[in-house]
Amino acid sequence: MFALTVARRYLFSNPAQTALLISGVALGVTAFVFITALIEGLAIRLTDDVTANSSHISLEPETRVARVLPSPDAELASVAIVSTFQRRQIRAWEPAVALLRSQPSVSAISPQISGSAFLVKGEAVAPVAVTAIDPAFLDAIAPISTEITSGNSNLGADGILIGVGLAENLGLSSGQPVLFRTDRGIDRLLTVRGVFRTGLQALDEKVAYLSLQTARPLFALPEGLTNIEVKLEEPGRAREIAAFLHEATGLRATPWQEKNANLEGALTAQARTGTLIQVFSLISVLVGIASALSLSANRRRGEIGIMRAFGVSSAFIAAVFVLQGLMIGMVGAAIGCVSGFALCSWLATLTDADGIMILPVARFEGGYVAVFLLTTLGAVLASVIPARSAARLDPLEAIQQ
């Protein structure tokens, strides 16, 4: 393609200027990659922080509501009363668990009985949120066994694990008995098997872990569960997967984002800010390309005029400038992607005393393909203005100048 040869010669005719132009594009792309990796890294870090000790999806029975029954007599309305005696439960939970196990997007499952209770030690009484689980999957949702500060995580038939804050409030330590009283007044003496410290006040002061076997008679749930907690490989897909699980199981499926609406709002605002910076980076790159090629077209008016006089088509002239834009865009974007990745890789090595990244860049999430394609396409579009102006040049006017 001869237009490509001409375009290449034009670019190489002034190597310093071309290098400067490509550097500008590369710099813009590097900024784009950095911002994308940083925004993505921040989102991952925040999501991880929020969901590290909680599930990504909670499956629960649908909420029970009183409903008006149809009546032939318009004056009288009958209402189906909701029983509060029986706890809400998932009776047929095995098929739901089997379905979850078959999903590759699910990384961990925790069938649970959750409820409220009190721990009584002498005169001291403390309310606790009870999480009863299969001891084999104690760490499925939150890493508890690794956070035990005294005792062990072996729940057994009458064991309980409590947080360090709760232990301090009640003056308890591992190996000591404690009276467990459910919200319906059923009492049982349990033994504190271990005390954990997660660093999260909500867990350390309020939560107690039992085995499902221990919890069933206490909460009058001989077979069912109150909820199934799910961890995902990709937390960002929680909404989509929750919708699928709701459809498939008929259970209420709540993604973690709904429980953390503020965080989601912050992440959305952060992503929008990132998009704005990305858009401005790209615009500055494209304006640079358009202005440089416009200058080039202006500088070469005489040459273009003589080409047109010789009958070289407008399409050929336009192609010369569009191909210059394409080459500048492709080379600049490629260099920018490489330098952006190098910058992010270097930043990823900068950590504080705790080994945490100072800037949480997700270096593999720099939007490389997107920025390469956008820059290349944008460069072509940016070159259309000078290309059209060159192709429309009146040969006579250009030659006479």
């Binding site: 393609m1 001869f2 010789f310 070289v312």
Partner: protein
């Protein structure tokens, strides 16, 4: 044999805002094959405008243009460009060579652009043309390394690349010193004589006109006089 160029009743009026300037009025010009014609006239007489119209670079306000028997004044822009490329040659006062290309590539350009590249045959012809204009030792030189006279000779070779029937030259020696101008004129005469190519040379230089076989003089946009065949000065 039909005329190479028949321009009939050519009129050209330029508009600048509300002002109209009539540059050409009822101009008739006919060129026969193999002629070397000087188009003379003072500055502003309309000779360059006529050359541009005859060379299909400008549309006349009135009149018709026929080149080698084909009416061309009604062609579309794209058709005119195609016609210029295949059938016409141009030499301008300023060569406007492509500075990033060698002499051979510049000469081959009018053939290479529509064909999508320089074929070996094109390269060969370009080299032959350059040898003919006395630049066989400058074939692969970037044109920026050539003198003014050499550049104009490259421009002449470029005009001949597609074997045009009609070559338009607008003040071809205007930017050259006397020696270089003489060489360029000799070259055009040689091409005219040997290739039977028809030339219309726009000039205000009497010495250039004296080297042509015929002269047409324009004054105030009208043909003032057209000579019969004249003896050519050497």
């Amino acid at each position: 044999m039909s005329s190479v160029l028949e321009a009939r009743a050519i009129g050209m009026t330029f508009r600048n805002g509300d002002a109209f300037t009539e540059v050409l009025r009822n101009v008739d010009v006919t060129l026969e094959p193999g002629e070397l014609v000087a188009l003379l006239g003072a500055s502003g007489s309309g000779k360059s405008t006529f050359l541009s119209i005859a060379g299909l670079l400008l549309r006349p306000t009135t009149g018709t243009i026929t080149i080698a028997g084909q009416r061309v004044d009604q062609l579309s822009d794209a058709e005119r460009a195609e016609f210029r490329n295949a059938r016409l040659g141009f030499i301008f006062q300023f060569h406007h060579l492509l500075p990033d290309f060698t002499a051979t590539e510049n000469v081959a350009f009018p053939a290479a652009a529509p064909a999508g590249g320089i074929t070996p045959a094109m390269r060969q012809r370009a080299r032959e043309l350059l040898a003919r204009v006395g630049l066989s030792d400058r074939l692969d030189f970037r044109v920026t390394r050539l003198s003014g006279g050499q550049k104009q000779r490259v421009a002449i070779a470029r005009a001949l690349m597609n074997k045009p029937e009609l070559i338009f030259a607008d003040e071809p020696t205007g930017s050259l010193d006397r020696v270089a101008a003489q060489q360029v004129l000799d070259l055009m005469r040689e091409v005219n004589r040997e290739d039977k190519a028809t030339f219309l040379i726009c000039t205000h230089d009497e010495q250039v006109a004296a080297r042509c076989t015929r002269r047409i003089t324009l004054k105030d946009g009208q043909v003032e006089g057209a000579s019969e065949e004249q003896p050519v000065a050497t």
